[in-house]
């Protein structure tokens, strides 16, 4: 099975990379862009399907709940 994890900086946390990319996009002829937020996307190939364990790992390792939110999608 495959698990897909998206980790995004929390709305309340400034994302310096996102701000820099937003500015670059404006310079590239898209002044309308309001904001960009940059996160991480992880594709995980795993034999067993313990979703609770995956959530635990998302919380403890793959994201830092102080600054990030994660979303886990498990595909059969």
């Amino acid at each position: 099975m495959k698990a897909k994890v998206t980790v995004m900086p929390k709305k309340s946390v400034l994302d310096p990379q996102g701000v820099a990319v937003r500015d670059a996009m404006r310079h590239h002829g898209l002044p309308e862009v309001r904001s960009v937020r940059i996160g991480k996307f992880m594709e995980i190939d795993v034999d067993a399907a313990d979703e609770a364990k995956l959530h635990e790992i998302c919380r403890d390792l793959l994201s830092n709940p102080v600054i990030e939110d994660y979303e886990l999608q498990v595909e059969a």
């Binding site: 900086p9 309340s12 946390v13 310096p16 990379q17 820099a20 390792l61 830092n64 600054i67």
Partner: protein, 253 residues
């Protein structure tokens, strides 16, 4: 007393910390590989700077799960003194031994320069001492004292939610804040965008300290500053005091 300098794969300030403890302060110091499970025999534990595990995922995110960190957490809970510098600070935050987190510098640039850090609380195990420096002078802790030390990091931007920041202020846990050469805490003097110019914080119990500036690179006149000695002198004095007071009492059976 005995000091440990923890080595993770990718630590690169371990030798500087070891040198300062061993040569500048004549402390019995050992390197401890991150695979060791226990650090019980040490009175002071230093987590040095570097790029543990290549900073993969997040700075300190993987190092935090090294076997030695369980030992560090156990000793922290027992009140032992823990000093995390730069990547060591990041690891302590990831390990939740300190609140908050360190994210990418606001400028996105790796900053590598000397900064002034203003001493905000001189009544802690890490910031109270007086130490001799070159020219027969004494450097004495006082609130407002400026310590000139280098920073070298890409992720030193301290963030925490509002409640945490309020607690840090209320409990005087902010020990160092970036300031200009006159001691004014301004946004211009903030090298990385840290909330409230925070350069270093201590945990609520007062025995775990993390800071982004490198005191170990400011302990010799040859390096342009000896201000880092104040932190090492303080923590060594505190560790010695603790060692003495907890020296084994003869058990009667």
């Amino acid at each position: 007393m005995k000091a440990a300098v923890i080595r993770f794969p990718g630590s690169n300030c371990d030798q500087d910390c070891y040198y300062v403890l061993k040569n500048t302060f004549a402390i019995d110091t050992e390197y401890v590989w991150h695979k060791e499970a226990s650090v019980e025999q040490f009175d002071l534990i230093v987590l040095p700077g570097g790029f543990s595990y290549g900073d993969y995922l997040r700075c300190g995110a993987i190092a935090r799960f090294s076997p030695v960190m369980r030992g560090v957490a156990a000793e922290a809970a027992r009140g032992k003194l823990i000093l995390g510098i730069c990547n060591g600070f990041q690891i302590l935050c990831e390990a939740r031994l300190l609140p908050g987190a360190l994210i990418r510098n606001r400028s996105l640039h790796f900053v590598c320069e000397h900064v002034h850090a203003r001493l905000e609380n001189m009544e802690t195990a890490f910031t109270h001492a007086e130490v001799a420096i070159a020219g027969g002078k004494l450097l004495t802790a006082r609130t407002g004292l400026l310590l000139r030390m280098p920073v070298a990091h890409g992720e030193g931007n301290y963030v925490a939610d509002e409640a945490t920041l309020r607690d840090l202020h209320r409990n005087n846990q902010i020990l160092l804040r970036y300031a200009d050469a006159r001691g004014a805490v301004t946004s211009g003097a903030n090298p990385n965008g840290s909330a409230d110019n925070i350069a270093g914080i201590v945990n609520r119990a007062g025995n775990v300290f993390g800071l982004m500036p490198h005191p170990e690179r400011a302990c010799d006149p040859l390096l342009g500053s000896e201000d880092g000695k104040l932190i090492f002198q303080s923590v060594i004095e505190s560790a010695m005091k603790k060692t003495k007071s907890s020296s084994p009492i003869t058990k009667r059976t």
